[in-house]
Amino acid sequence: MRSFRGGVHPREGKEATEHKPIEVAPLPSRVVIPLSQHTGAPSRPVVQKGVRVKAGTMIGEPVGRVSVPTHSSISGTVADVVDLPHPLTGRPVATVIIDSDGQDELEATIGEQDHSHFTPEEIIEAVRRAGVVGLGGAAFPTFIKLSPPKEKPIDTLIINGCECEPYLTADHRLMLEKSHEIVEGIRFLARALGVSRVIIAIEDNKRDAVQLMTSVAAGPDIAVRELRTKYPQGAEKQLIKVLLGREVPSGGLPMDVGCVVQNVGTAVAVRDAVRFAKPLFERVVTVTGPAVAEPKNLRVRIGTLVSELVQFCGGYQGPVGKLIMGGPMMGIALASDKVPVLKGTSGILALGPEPESDESECIRCGRCIEACPMGLAPTRLHYHVRQRRFAQARAEHLLDCIECGCCAYVCPARIRLVHSFKFGKSEVLAQERK
């Protein structure tokens, strides 16, 4: 099996939820929907306090080219439109708060479409209008990935079912329970891109999903590939390298090597968007971790508070040290559980209180360099950032860091390398804007 450089093998922790079918989370009485849930410009509110909305009603319209609309996830009344701190960045962002009427009425436009004659442009427009973003975590608007410039021909669509983050099983369950929907979504995606080669990539810790997807999807144009379980197998650049032997150039995008990578969850969202004109207002979230009483995979309305999901999972079990949105390797630690699930939220992870060990001095063991899938020298980059030598850090390719966390995971001195690189990158970019 072809592999990629570096990477780590953290304990998977998926056993708590991998055999649990997706349950529908109870309809929330109130949702909190920030209008910035995607990479790019936030959408602009188009509803005011007191307005009645249904599930699927557009509440935020896109602003600029890299932006998507945002939709209500329940039916009810807009309780407020207010700037609130974003759950992940903490920066204030326009947020629509909706109180449920308990009816869960759908927007009238949602329903079976006559999609068989859709042109690629019509598919892409349906995806854009539905506010579909990458559900793997980065939340990049999907319609942009489907509209590469003409000079970048795409020959391969890669469907990412790796789910290499420990603890998370949302994609795994989706593949087991929604394999036909995934394939339907893949057909739309392939049509939009005009590609005839599709590869579904799944790590070998999900053999059942590999088998099922092979029997459902494999054919002359769709191949299912089982990959070795190794973090970050599901990182776009590493995935392309392993599947096709192509390297996305430094600073480039998958389309520079003729690829588009979409997560399996995104494929389902695309299917719903194209076939039913259904906006993206719900997703599958794994709620898990040693501090959750009954870990579950849940189908959740966007905007549901994390606290409500944890309550539905039996509440917290023992003291909670960290509450994480996403997986343990790349997820964001939350300061409170009163924050909403976003389009990019693949998991909620509650970890027990582990004493955060102090950073000690780098002993130059080189483990971070061995682990870096991008071929960087994290210890040197950290040294440059710490000395505020941002130009030097940039020259040693700080901007190529994908923040996967492998370096910090292996560091025996527990140096907060990713923290350092996030800061360093923002400083480098700030200096370049000057």
């Binding site: 304990r11 420990p166 390297e247 996305v248 150039p249 430094s250 606290s307 944890v310 309550q311 039996g314 509440g315 917290y316 040290g321 960290k322 509450l323 994480i324 996403g326 343990p328 390797m329 790349m330 997820g331 964001i332 630690a333 300061a335 409170s336 559980d337 009163k338 992870l349 209180p353 955060e356 060990s357 000690s360 001095e361 780098c362 002993i363 130059r364 063991c365 080189g366 483990r367 061995e370 870096c372 991008m374 071929g375 960087l376 020298a377 210890t379 040197r380 390719h397 190529d400 966390g405 910090a408 995971y409 292996v410 560091c411 025996p412 001195a413 527990r414 907060r416 990713v418 996030k422």
Partner: protein, 356 residues
């Protein structure tokens, strides 16, 4: 137990950057692994050289821990002597000393190693040369006689490794010449009426090689038993505490150069094994050249580092002023390490061709 209310919860949450899980490897575990790996060889030294060796080991280690802590205190750093790095320095320094030196020698050596070579340059992670080797080099320069003549015959053998029956050295040399010393100065040490050829032949005989392998010869107290050092060294490689690249490239370089360079070879295989098992080569290759702080960061850099150590060792042994070259070879390559790290980089994923 009733679920806690979110309000209760939110006040206690720890917010730090990802990742939120870590491998179990810590600096402390790595250092204590080296201590454990050194244990067989040091226990062997007590077996071979008696209680004097134990005294040196304890003095050196205790002094290293105390002076390292003192150095940290003086430099206004956090005192972290229990991370094991000072203990490793003390044990390695002891391993590098003749077993019959006065009690104050290891103490002064440990003080130099920890305060001058380590803490004055910034403490753990910042020293540019291996502290234990710096201590040894300092002692050798300051008390050359103590450092080169205080050998003890091991429990069951001779300092030189030559069998008592076939001893062909002059009286003086019998107690002062280690195997490498005999190799270097054999002609001068020869008893009257003996042919050098006889000496070379005996030096490269299987009984001598066996004594070298087991440690039944004279030398620095922790360096004599290739067998016990290899046990610990291989353990360190299996546990992935050290990178195999440094010892392997070091030893392979020595082996190749010894075979192709001129020397008093009577039996090539035994001559090769004599070089590998004598002196401080195994100790140096597995325990000192692999010191993280003073060796290169990258795989390729480490291969170059081992190549450099091996080349210098053979050159010093063959043509240098000392019978043994391991200590200075590693120190010289320590100094070359920043240069190696500057020139040898990992390949960036997706690197574009850069215009020159």
């Amino acid at each position: 137990m009733a679920p806690k209310t979110p309000a209760e919860e939110s006040t206690q949450l720890l917010v730090t950057a990802s990742p939120h899980i870590h491998s179990a490897v810590t600096v402390e575990k790595l250092m204590w692994a080296v201590v454990i790996a050194l244990a067989p060889a040091l226990a062997g030294s007590v077996y071979f050289f008696g209680i004097k060796a134990l005294k040196i080991i304890i003095l050196s280690t205790a002094a290293a821990v105390v002076f390292d802590g003192l150095g940290q205190r003086l430099m206004g750093r956090k005192v972290t002597v229990w991370d094991g790095s000072a203990a490793v320095t003390g044990l390695l320094l002891a391993a590098n000393l003749p077993p019959d030196v006065p009690w104050w020698l290891p103490v002064i050596g440990a003080a130099f190693a920890t305060i001058v070579a380590k803490q004055l340059f910034g403490g753990l992670g910042h020293n540019f040369i291996n502290p234990a080797l710096a201590g040894r080099a300092f002692l050798t320069a300051s008390w050359p006689t103590l450092m080169t003549t205080r050998w003890l015959a091991p429990r069951l053998g001779t300092v030189s490794g030559l069998g008592p029956a076939g001893l062909r050295l002059c009286t003086d040399a019998v107690t002062t010449a280690t195997p490498l010393n005999v190799l270097k100065n054999g002609e001068r040490l020869l008893a009257p009426g003996c042919e050098p050829a006889q000496l070379w032949q005996e030096l490269q005989s299987w009984p001598v090689i066996k004594r070298l392998f087991l440690g039944n010869v004279g030398g620095s107290l922790g360096e004599t038993s290739a067998l016990l050092l290899l046990l610990g060294g291989i353990l360190l490689i299996i546990l992935r505490v050290i990178d195999w690249r440094i010892p392997v490239s070091y030893l392979v370089t020595v082996a190749i150069l010894v075979l192709i360079l001129p020397g008093p070879k009577t039996a090539p295989l035994q001559y090769l094994l004599f070089h590998l098992f004598s002196g401080g080569l195994i100790l140096g290759a597995f325990y000192m050249a692999t010191d993280y702080v003073t060796s290169p960061l990258t795989h390729k850099g480490r291969l170059i580092f081992g190549l450099g150590c091996g080349t210098l060792t053979v050159l010093i042994r063959r043509w240098g002023g000392y019978p043994e070259g391991v200590c200075y070879s590693i120190l010289l390559m320590n100094v070359a390490t920043p240069l190696i790290d500057r020139l040898v980089r990992t390949r960036l994923f997706g690197r574009r061709k850069e215009p020159r």
